[in-house]
Symmetry: C2
């Protein structure tokens, strides 16, 4: 198993560490991709076909508590709901934990996310990132954030971007072992930059993003154009962040998301994460923009939209989208 | 003007004909493209980048009456509404009529369409096709249907498919003058084949299909893949019609339409013809299909959907979509 080799290569002797304490707690923010991660070059290691770029959402994310347990089995809860360890998420979590612990170490893991789960709000990203930070403390690994990013990626690809605040680029890397595929925080900050979370539904999605991206690669010839699109969009987004060119950022981000969803619409069978309400919101955003309000959106593998705008337009956007949660992460 | 040359080349001496009667009347069906026409290689002559294929909708279409007028100006009405001849449709119509008449010939033109106008139900196709048939009678041209198809195309590209019942292929042709770009009726018939018209809105679309296809070509690199997609889809649809393979027909038709709309979603700025109601209907269709009902859809430059199914499922589809108009054109 390649994952074991990665853990071995990063942790070495530290894989024999015993827990330094009986309880640890760590937080990681969720992140919203402005240039999306869509498609893996390695399924086991979650190595992406392309680089991607995100903004972390400050105090929106997941807190993970690990307590050493004397029970014979692990227990995991997510927002006070016991996770079935035979479920696909449960299995993935156990495989991940087994990379790092002795068989005798059993855990009570308590995860609290202050964002909806599995509705395209990247909760698995903040979940795995906070879990890795907690493990780092539990086993006293003293890893660099870059090393933690590589380990978090093994749990969930986009988790490798949730180790930092602000704008983070995930370098695709070229190595088969993925040792060059990790997040990196951009130097630039943008205090006026706002993200509005428009919740259409908290319902769990029917097709996981893991499955959706795989189906895109396997059945959609249009995927061939995606890497080229990402190369252009990444360059434009980084330029836009450096120059605080909001129109360029918004336009590129929205177009990047629309291309991802357009590809899903033309996979076989088609995948449509938008609900009618999503579409009505898009049309409202386009209308407001045509009336002169600089607001753009992005959409992940779910029906919810994330609005992008500047602080100067906060009030008018709050009026237009009552109930929208506004985060000013920069 | 290239249009004048085409008219000259088809009609020759007959361009000097005087009206043979004071009033003529002709009907042409609307047609629904199963493989779409999207993109022109010549804007003036409405020459398409690719071939396309449609089904005509029997008695759904437009009836055009031309009456010789003693007035100094033309009058045109569409469903009893006077058309402003300075509007873009009005101008296009006058340019078209001027190809064929002496300056002294003035017309009262009365068009009645029993389908919604400009809502992606190809009313301009049946409008121009019926107009050309009426002109053929008025001026006693005695043209072949293929020649009428070429002339109808000058008014509206897809009109060249509305000269026949049943399945019609529009050959893209390669000539600069478009003399090889016309409709041709397929030999195969399919009496069980049904089209359901699901009207979401009769509102006129905000972006004309003419403008939308041009914006796609100009701003969307993904358009490069369209001709290749059409080549495959056309072959599959013709095979499906010949073999009465409904699943192949439905799957290919739906995927063809989704690709067209996916391309529009990723033009700059994006064009979204779907309304929230359109999306809800798509999701209902996908759900019914996943439950075993063979039903597919296609969508043109508007929010309405056209459902494809076989006569054996008429009753259950009528139950699921109350108010849907069902046409059995084959």
């Amino acid at each position: 198993m390649k994952m074991v080799e990665v853990a071995q290569s990063i942790l070495g002797e530290r894989l024999h560490n015993t827990p330094a304490t009986s309880s640890v707690k760590a937080f990681a923010p969720t992140n919203i991709a402005l240039c999306k991660y869509w498609g893996k070059r390695d399924q086991e290691l979650n190595l992406p076909v392309t680089s991607s770029l995100s903004i972390s959402l400050g105090d929106k994310g997941a807190t993970t508590i690990i307590r050493m347990s004397s029970d014979a089995h692990d227990h995991v809860s997510l927002n006070d709901q016991e996770i079935d360890l035979a479920s696909s998420f449960g299995k993935r979590l156990i495989v991940f934990l087994n990379l790092f612990r002795k068989t005798r170490d059993k855990f009570d893991i308590i995860i609290h996310a202050n964002i909806p789960i599995a509705a395209g709000l990247a909760s698995s990203a903040s979940g795995f990132a906070s879990l890795v930070k907690a493990l780092n403390e539990l086993y006293q690994w003293n890893l660099s954030t870059q090393e933690l990013s590589i380990l978090a990626r093994l749990g969930s690809g986009s988790a490798c971007r949730s180790l930092w605040d602000g704008f983070v680029e995930w370098h695709a890397g070229v190595r088969a072992d993925g040792m060059d595929s990790f997040g990196e925080k951009l130097q630039a900050t943008w205090p006026e930059f706002c993200v509005g979370l428009l919740l259409v539904s908290e319902k769990e999605k029917e097709v996981s993003s893991r499955e959706a991206m795989q189906r895109t690669i396997e059945t959609n010839a249009a995927y061939q154009r995606w890497p080229e699109k990402v190369t252009k969009d990444l360059a434009a987004i980084k330029l836009a962040i450096n120059e605080k060119n909001f129109e360029l950022l918004g336009k590129t981000t929205e177009s990047n998301a629309l291309m991802m969803h357009a590809m899903m619409l033309t996979t076989q069978p088609p995948i449509q994460y938008s609900t009618p309400e999503t579409l009505a919101l898009m049309q409202k955003i386009w209308r407001l923009r045509s009336e002169g309000l600089p607001v753009y959106f992005t959409q992940d593998a779910g029906p919810n939209l994330k609005l992008l705008f500047l602080a100067e337009n906060k009030v008018v956007l709050a009026q237009n989208f009552p109930g929208m949660e506004i985060v000013q992460p920069g």
